[in-house]
Subunit: 407 residues, 2 copies
């Protein structure tokens, strides 16, 4: 399919009908905005996916209930504290946040998705958040700059802002815009969902269809990245649709729906790769393609084993073409692997074939691993399924960040 | 059961009936012994377990066949090259090694288990190994020192020698000795088997019984350690029994069999913990106990998730009581986890209970993580099963070792 989208400026406020704000309320000790607010001007529709972790943060539990009620049109998010493993007191903090936000904006408490990110196991200083909310409401604005400030407020160990927007031609002259921002640099191995991600669109689209599209888009993008194989307790991806574009309703099975889903998936892919590229201590973005696998599940398992192995990540860090580490990781992840049929390419160079070293020289392989982006391609020769997983390298800086990070 | 064993001096040559040797044949570039030979004076019995990796090294494929034939009584092992991912040429190198060793010692080629450890994907310089074999045969000796030299020859990134021996009272005045040595400091997450481990005993015991005991002992010791979650292509554990102790045959179901298995398991535990304690870059030995789990499998999964998470390992490195990382790792590994019933103890101090912070202060938890050995205990409150997994911390030194290690 010819791409139906173009990258445009901005993030969550790029589509029509959204206002955003960010303020500093003092949850983080550094002097940065740590409270964000995102509101749709219309009731519109909302879809979300959440962490599969059995230890789910208080805001995740609240937000699951909000999404189930079907009336979410705004989000309150804080950084600096995950409000996870905080028991009944954590839930009361979320309830107080939603009640206050509802009062200030004339909405219902369950109109709000609440999200938090930061340290686990510390009680959220909710009074700071409640103090900041009126200022955030005052600051609400529909400009691209407001969207950027919102994206800043959800950052923790991120070193770069992560936002993107796409304009999507639906056909027949109709077009919609999709925008989004995301955060994350560590504790990244999403399952079912992701780190914190906020997506917006001015498309008009029904809730069940948007939910299915969001789940599929996340499955092939966010759920295929890993920085450190550790799934967060707070993973949340929200998509709000305002319906304010001058475009007809996106209906299931139409060409417009196909185009919209392609753009939504591309937006998720762009944002997810920004996370991997900004991985804690990372110096390289690594794309791992597994092809001719017996099943998509097997392809994902093999790619993920390579992505998650610290030995592979160390070789990727130093640019050392020690490809035995990649092959052996696939070997313990695959229930089926035939050495005689398997081939590994690094940047297009054949490292391994028929159970033995391939024809590429060590110098060629080293050159293929020397850049900021590295691609590994494992051909299992067993079937027709394929999958791509993205990861980064493991550096001493990752250890420094995570041995020191506490509050 | 009262312990029936005592630690004694030595390793593989501590039991009666074994000779060992080590020589330098030049496979490793550093000037150390890199070829080891271990021989039982009698045919006796042999049992072994091997890696579950689908990419199995040439020596593993040879040795599986040798063990299946039931006549193994000696082992040839080299360090510096894994002879994995080396195709037909790798297998020919193993065949040549076994043929030469058989000729020199007047045995059959399949009397030998062959094992290799080192870099994957490089052809083994077999001519060096064949040149070294006659010197190794000349050097064969039954002394404890010979056993120690053998243990040295199998080391790669290990910084400490790993050998141990136990004397086991079988009852009725009969006693046997068990000895062993092992290697490993990286690429350690054994599944079905282990890194390289050589065990000997002068007990008289049938092959099927010894095989079952070895498999159970490995399952609860070697298969419960992890340094970096990367299962090797060369994992091999061999147990040779000479039958030369002045003790009756160990028969299944007897008290003597129970005692022998307890001693064998303890020997494996001692050796496995030496690996974790010497983990690449490790500064702490971490014991993770999961209790009151719904099943042993669930307990192992939860403990392993904590052991394998780089975030948990970084917190363990810095001694930071950031216990949310431990709880969240269990949360993504467990299919069942009830926050209200779960409790986490660090060194006996309650860090987390009923879904919220426990009563221990941060200072108490930090003190419990400050030592060379740290114990985490997760009580799931769901059942009666339990499991223990051992791991180490993740340091910048691990990255330095593995980003630089190539040949």
């Amino acid at each position: 399919m010819k791409t139906c989208w173009d990258v445009v400026a901005g993030g969550v406020t790029a589509p029509r009908g959204f206002r955003a704000a960010a303020v500093r309320c003092g949850i983080r000790q550094v002097e940065v905005d740590d409270l964000g607010l995102l509101v749709s001007e219309t009731q519109g529709t909302a879809a979300a996916v959440f962490t599969a972790n059995r230890v789910a943060a208080a805001p995740v539990r609240w937000s699951r209930a909000s999404i189930a009620r079907g009336k979410v049109r705004a989000a309150v998010v804080n950084s600096g504290n995950a409000n996870a493993c905080t028991g009944a007191r954590g839930l009361r903090a979320v309830e107080a946040t939603a009640a206050k936000a509802a009062e200030l904006l004339g909405l219902k408490p369950h109109s709000f998705l609440i999200a938090s990110t930061g340290i686990i196991g510390r009680y959220l200083p909710v009074e700071k958040l409640l103090e900041g909310l009126p200022r955030a409401v005052q600051a609400l604005d529909g400009s691209l700059e407001a969207g950027e400030r919102f994206a800043h407020a959800i950052m923790t160990t991120d070193t770069e802002l992560k936002e993107a927007a796409l304009r999507c031609e639906l056909g027949g002259g109709a077009a919609v815009t999709l925008g989004g921002c995301t955060k994350g640099a560590g504790m990244i191995a999403p399952g079912m969902a992701t780190t914190l991600t906020f997506l917006t669109t001015d498309a008009a689209i029904g809730r069940p269809l948007l939910q299915r599209m969001l789940r599929r888009a996340i499955e092939r993008t966010y759920n295929r990245i890993s920085i450190d194989e550790h799934m967060s307790t707070n993973d949340t991806a929200l998509c709000l649709a305002s319906g304010l574009a001058d475009a007809p309703l996106v209906r299931e099975g139409t060409r417009a729906a196909g185009r919209f889903e392609a753009a939504l998936t591309e937006l998720c892919r762009i944002l997810a790769l920004k996370i991997v590229a900004d991985g804690e201590g990372a110096t390289r973005l690594v794309t791992i393609e597994v092809v001719r696998a017996p099943s998509e599940r097997a392809a994902v398992a093999a790619a993920r084993a390579i992505a998650d192995s610290p030995l592979c990540k160390c070789a990727l860090h130093s640019g050392d073409p020690n490809w035995g580490r990649f092959v052996s990781a696939a070997g313990y992840a695959c229930s089926r692997l035939d050495e005689a049929k398997s081939r590994l390419f690094i940047g297009g160079k054949l490292a391994y074939a028929a159970g033995a070293p391939g024809k590429a020289t060590e110098a060629e392989l080293a050159a293929a691993m020397a850049g900021r982006e590295v691609t590994l391609r494992l051909d299992l020769g067993l079937g027709k399924a394929a999958a791509t997983v993205w990861t980064c390298d493991l550096s001493k800086e990752y250890v420094a960040i995570n041995a020191d990070y506490h509050t």
